[in-house]
Symmetry: C2
Subunit: 353 residues, 2 copies
Amino acid sequence: MDIRGKAIVITGGYLDTSTAKTAHGLLRGTERFDILGVIDPKFAGKDAGEVMQGQSLGIKVFATVKEYLQTQGILRPDFCIVGVATHGGYLPPSLKEELLFAAHQGIHLVSGLHYMLHEDIDFQQVVQESAIQIFDIRRIRPRKELRFWTGEIYQVKTPKIAVLGTDCALGKRTTCRFLLETCQSAGIRTEMIYTGQTGWMQGYKHGFIFDTTINDFISGEVERVIVACDRQEKPDLILLEGQSALRNPSGPCGAEFLISGNIHHVVLQHRPARKYYDDTEVPIPAIESEIELIKFYGAEVIAMTLNEEGMSKQEILEYQQEMTQKLGIPVLRPLQGELVQLIPKIQLLLADF
Amino acid sequence: MDIRGKAIVITGGYLDTSTAKTAHGLLRGTERFDILGVIDPKFAGKDAGEVMQGQSLGIKVFATVKEYLQTQGILRPDFCIVGVATHGGYLPPSLKEELLFAAHQGIHLVSGLHYMLHEDIDFQQVVQESAIQIFDIRRIRPRKELRFWTGEIYQVKTPKIAVLGTDCALGKRTTCRFLLETCQSAGIRTEMIYTGQTGWMQGYKHGFIFDTTINDFISGEVERVIVACDRQEKPDLILLEGQSALRNPSGPCGAEFLISGNIHHVVLQHRPARKYYDDTEVPIPAIESEIELIKFYGAEVIAMTLNEEGMSKQEILEYQQEMTQKLGIPVLRPLQGELVQLIPKIQLLLADF
């Protein structure tokens, strides 16, 4: 499914929360879409970047799709994207209304929700009436499009780094993208493999959507996308976007990437202020234990990266210093441009191969 | 899908190998089907139990379905079951021929292959002509039949034991069933939850088919079936059939059961003679390392159980003695009735809760 074009992103009141992580990813950069604006009544009139990260991006927030079209008539979007990943993947009614309105204006819809727009009778109707298309990114791919793990992964000699995390929704994909840009700036020909719907929306060439894949084919898909990326792009380095966390009870994940993807190096994203797994009362284990666990899967954590939400600058600096000493590995702040400190270590990895 | 009845099982030359693990499970006992015979040209005339485990079961092997029907006319089967789990889940041509023949005789078909019989034009034709039904056990369940993990699992106070293994196809389900029977004989009201298609075929009431579930719903399904089993049966003890192995590259698995199913006790099935993961050249890690890894997921290995294939009796006895000392936990031979030795330990678990 290779679509490209101008787009608006709907966040329905969530723009300042991690529920809008799809929108955040798109705002941080996408090669697939040209983001014209964000639709969110709660933050109308503000700059989307200011709301997301306190830093202007020159992308304005509008209350409704209607307001956008009335005021920005010239810059007409081709696509309207659902920018939230709701718990359970359902579609909030207010979002549905906005999407239907957009569709009636002839704008194609893109959704990464579990809820399949194309199976909803209201959307089916608007497809007929307005001749628009619906792109349900999370559709389940049939068996014939999938393959089993074969061991072909062992032929890939290119170094690979997985960006895993200690929870879901704490910035793995963002850190992975920043690491991609940092490596590319340092002259390392680097490819990033996506494993979530936002990654697809950002336009990376190689990847698959992990959580909608039939379980038996996960390992085969991990292998397939790494092998394809390696053969087609012949990069110096492959980065793999992780999902969830190894011990997140609502969906433990990670072994598939490390074992089936034969990955030996990990950057571990962590949010110190988060004490419990997202939406649970289950405590997140100590970072040392997570690093030990990753070792059991044959991989070394080469750096920890920090999500700073919920901490003062002072707190984050103290935590960073303390953990650097404790763990003996770099503890870095990706949003502060510190990933560049990893480059010498990565250069060594490349030299070793 | 609750069907019951008389059945024959097709194994297409594989009856003496682990490829026929579905047939083996059915021969060892099923409440869903009454097994009348096995169809396997390679072992025609023999007793299926003799071929499988060197011990008669009074179930005869026939060369073809035709031979079965011609000689055993009175005992007419309702179902013909595919008794093999082929690598990649494909349907060998010789098996297809037998299945089509059976269907033409008005016998319903049951298959746990990835290959969907009901999507095959030849089977579609025979369904129309002979008014038989096809039960593709591994069909992918749609999202609306599935649910996410909620944390409800923490309300289950009944002790739970997962039977995990160090590889796939080495007897986890069989050990789990033997443990079920052993506990029941000891007066412990025990339920076994299945997670594979053979478990469904054996007729356990609670469970789901792990490997055909959309990945995002695995944790929710694990939770759902345990909660349902606990509420409906109010058992003393719940056993959970594991799948694959935590570090099997062709499909790592286990964390979902332990973490999302909140399971704290494990019986670990191992086949000492197998040095590499099934169908790979990847060495199986040391058993001590596997036990350590399981600890990271909050569970204790309370016993190791042995698959004796590929070892002499002398070798297995030596191995058993050595490992008992090394690990400090019982190392048991399920096929020799040794699981009964676990009962005191399980009684202690029950008393603790």
